[in-house]
């Protein structure tokens, strides 16, 4: 295996039928389009990719081991740092698993707050992902900045509610940490009302753009069958035409109360993944409109659950949620003490990379960037 320093080297030609030599390129770990410190060992035959091995671990900090030494509550701020674009959905997944483990009920208002924050997270994640995807394909700046402009409004909402823009640490076992401050609901309503206009503009900018279509249609095709077998989840799975959304399947929280549809793709290529996220944002806006309308008054914490000295009975539980990247699950084993015996994160970003090589083989090297961008990974979650 080559090291990062020898980024490019020639490989002796494998067979005589090849007229050129293969070129091995180390893409990353500091490549701007790898979304963090991620490396791909790529072998090229001219422009075509003939081998692609992802190399992980540059951001590994053994989050799972740290969690075994922390109290249950102490792991909550660490979950913010898994997928640092979407701390609130990570919070929710962890809280959900602990609630399953200890049999805790969540008050209604807290459930609504969770849905609202999770869907806002989905909006900002998908919007910026599309920005990044286009940035990777060479549309420097403009799309990403438009997305960040909208994301900023959502992050302001998060800051006003949770105190932090990205590392929210907001949810607790049995509820949420604080209630919304005065005027927050109106502010959120304003942001949500304005969002479809941004989506229209965003689509105007790209959806029919010939360059985008040429670069993405038919590129990185993933069949639905392989996607299921390889455990692909989230928008990537649905872009391949498999109807599986954990919000609909598990109906965790209070998702069964909201009317929304699950968009599905036809071709499973990069363009479908782009389009699917656009459509998903529109569905999220629908959910948000209903949630902001219906949120009831009431307590936001289960009164029986203590913050300190939390010791669930011995046992285990697996809780999973539909995070913007896919199925984010937490598998916890308790031995009755104040910290988990085993704490496992099921990272959607890592599992979604299983098919990266398969999607890239035979494509041009420039397409690798588009394909990787459409997977939507965050290294904090891949490497944990």
């Amino acid at each position: 295996m080559s090291t990062a320093t020898e980024a490019v080297r020639l490989i002796p030609k494998p067979t005589d039928s090849h007229e050129c030599q293969l070129l091995e390129v180390s893409m990353g770990p500091q490549h701007p389009s790898t979304h963090g410190v991620f490396r791909m060992d790529v072998a090229l035959d001219g422009e075509r990719v003939v081998k692609l091995k992802p190399v992980f671990g540059y951001l590994h900090r053994n989050h799972e081991k740290i969690a075994e030494t922390e109290s249950y509550l102490g792991s909550m701020p660490y979950t913010d740092r898994l997928d640092y674009m979407c701390s609130l959905t990570s919070n929710w997944a962890y809280a959900l698993a602990v609630e399953k483990l200890a049999g805790i009920q969540v008050p209604e208002r807290a459930e609504y707050l969770r849905v609202i924050t999770a869907e806002l997270t989905r909006l900002q994640n998908h919007a910026s992902l599309i920005g990044f995807l286009l940035q990777d394909m060479g549309a420097s700046g403009t799309p990403l900045m438009y997305a960040f402009r909208e994301r900023e409004k959502i992050l302001d909402l998060f800051e006003a509610l949770t105190g932090a823009r990205m590392m929210c640490n907001y949810m607790r076992f049995g509820g949420c940490r604080v209630d919304m401050p005065a005027g927050w609901l109106q502010q959120a309503q304003k942001v949500v009302d304005a969002f479809p206009r941004f989506l229209d503009e965003y689509e105007q900018l790209f959806t029919e753009n010939e360059i985008l279509m040429a670069r993405t249609q038919g590129v990185g095709v993933l069949s639905g069958e392989l996607a299921v077998n390889a455990g692909i989840t989230g928008p990537m799975l649905r872009a391949s035409g498999v109807n599986y959304d954990i919000r609909k399947v598990d109906k965790y929280g209070i998702y069964e109360r909201f009317a929304f549809r699950v968009p599905l793709g036809d071709h499973g290529d990069v363009y479908d993944r782009y389009m699917l996220r656009m459509l998903e944002m529109r569905e999220s806006v629908k959910i948000l409109q209903q949630a902001l309308r219906d949120i009831p008054p009431g307590p936001i914490m289960d009164p029986k659950t203590k913050i300190r000295g939390f010791r669930p009975k011995a046992g285990e539980a697996y809780g999973r949620t539909e995070s913007p990247k896919g199925e984010l699950g937490f598998y916890l084993i308790s031995d009755g003490s104040s910290n988990p015996y085993r704490y496992r994160v099921r990272p959607p970003s890592l599992v979604n990379l299983t098919v990266l090589e398969g999607m890239c083989l035979g494509q041009n090297v420039a397409d690798v960037m588009a394909i990787l961008g459409s997977v939507d990974i965050v290294m904090g979650e891949v490497d944990r």
Binding site: S71, D80, E159, A160, R177, P181
Partner: protein, 205 residues
């Protein structure tokens, strides 16, 4: 027509470009540091220690119970409990932290210390311009660096501070009522005790 989509997109960028001259929602850039965004009240950054009254050493609320040290997830608080006691704001003798250090290079601003502190002694600051050229000493804050007055707390988190003040005042009133009741009970008891022998004496007579 080939190129129509690109033209549509260019029209969009043109709209944003021109719109940025007229509408604030298309030009969101703020010229930091000359210009600043309004402070969001719930914002949090690093913890500070609250004190009441004018003297930070005298009025520090922290009683060195070590709960936050234990609960802090990355273990960046380090406290040494005092050997002696000093009177707190209500005059009750309490321990105080002889050493209270927070390594803010490790702190992840999670505010779990604030949540678990039973004495409303540690709160989150909003200050964020903290760069320093000393990586170790400059980011290891001692209790003097951490001490902030309650007035400051009221200024940065008015709603939260008002709730805390009310809750503390209530506790204090309860405590006072209790001690008053205890004092009254004591004095009436002594009165009774002093009355009894008198009556006894009277009976003897």
């Amino acid at each position: 027509m080939l190129g129509e989509g690109i033209l549509k997109g260019l029209a969009e960028t043109a709209r944003n470009f021109l719109g940025s001259y007229v509408g604030k929602d298309r030009l969101t850039t703020v010229q930091y540091p000359e210009e600043r965004l309004p402070q969001i009240e719930a914002a949090r950054n690093f913890p500070f220690l609250v004190y009441d009254g004018p003297d930070w050493q005298q009025g520090m609320r922290c009683v060195s119970c070590l709960i936050c040290e234990k609960e802090c997830p990355p273990k960046c608080i380090s406290i040494e409990k005092s050997k002696d006691k000093k009177p707190d704001a209500t005059g009750k003798p309490q321990f105080y932290p002889a050493v209270f250090n927070i390594d803010v290079s490790v702190c992840m601003s999670c505010q779990i210390c604030v949540e678990v502190c039973p004495f409303e002694a540690i709160k989150m600051d909003v200050e964020f311009e903290l760069s320093t050229d000393d990586r170790f000493g400059g980011l290891l804050w001692n209790k003097e660096r951490l001490a902030r007055s309650n007035e400051y707390y009221r200024q940065i988190h008015p709603t939260e501070a008002a709730a805390v003040d009310a809750h503390l005042a209530e506790d204090r009133a309860k405590l006072e009522a209790k001690s008053k009741a205890a004092a009254e009970a004591k004095s009436s008891a002594t009165a009774m005790v002093s009355a009894q022998p008198a009556s006894g004496v009277a009976a003897e007579k």
